[in-house]
Symmetry: C2
Subunit: 146 residues, 2 copies
DNA sequence: TTACCTGCAAACTCTTTGCACCGCA
DNA sequence: TGCGGTGCAAAGAGTTTGCAGGTAA
């Protein structure tokens, strides 16, 4: 996590390239760099963070290309775009499985909560057909436990 | 509990004035008009809707005053400001009790879900201190039942 | 009278778009 | 060569702010 400015070790450039190709996304140097960062290194990042990282780790990229790339990754299902109530910025989540979120209101840190950590029983009547459920738990996380 | 914040639509100007006064908000003609609309008539409205309503029902009000008034009502706890993932606009909710929301993705209609309709068990460890929980259920509501 | 509210327009933030240029298939 | 990706700047949406003038206590 402190290595944030380095290329992540989880996936090679070649692997990222294959992932993009499998999703029908044409590879370019900019897209590879952005994808590698958001898919491996950053779990919940904003456009601004991607741009800042890219400015330090990539020869040249425009903000429009960052937006464009992230939007494409969302479209093909490699990322989820979150709009949470505490911020006006979109947060990109590389966990595309069904899960919930916890926001530490003191630090601003956002963490994933596995969907099996919440037991959810609704007694809505049958006229409600549920497609998805967004849950954001706000609070604080004490220091003694990660 | 649902009755606590459900101002009857017959609420008089005088009553609104008293509510504002009780919250330490100075009454003006604009504030009374906006407050009456959002506290009585509209359950989930946007700034735009308030402005449109006011333009038709009030001699003159600026957009800035609408924003200002709604922000004040949120500050004093008479309204809740919601930012939901399907829209960039803030939605003002006159139900300030703890409750959840259901979004009909076909109609865009937002409805309240009483907190007792959802049984919520989290098995987060003790390092998580929960202050509040936002829940947005997305789906569709069938027509045969309101 | 004094403090505060209002209206207007400009500013601000985040995101998208239009367009010329460039690179890769 | 041609399609489409990139960069830049401008535009756009939603919201806030600065300020001059007006209004209520």
């Amino acid at each position: 996590m402190n290595e944030a400015n380095k290329y992540p070790s989880c996936l090679t450039t070649k692997e990222i390239e294959n992932i993009l190709k499998a999703s029908g996304v044409q590879s370019t140097a900019q897209r590879l760099a952005v994808s590698r960062y958001v898919l491996c290194e950053a779990s919940h990042c904003t456009v601004e963070e991607v741009k800042d990282w890219a400015d330090q780790n990539f020869p040249k990229i425009s903000l429009a290309t960052v937006y464009n790339t992230l939007n494409i990754l969302v479209e093909v299902g490699l990322l989820k775009a979150l709009k949470l109530s505490h911020s006006d910025k979109v947060i990109y989540d590389n966990n595309v499985d069904n899960h919930y979120h916890f926001l530490d209101e003191q630090t601003g840190e956002l963490s994933d909560i596995s969907s099996d950590k919440i037991d959810f029983k609704t007694s809505l009547n049958e006229s409600f057909k549920i497609n998805s459920i967004d849950v954001l738990i706000k609070g604080t996380k004490s220091i003694n436990k990660v």
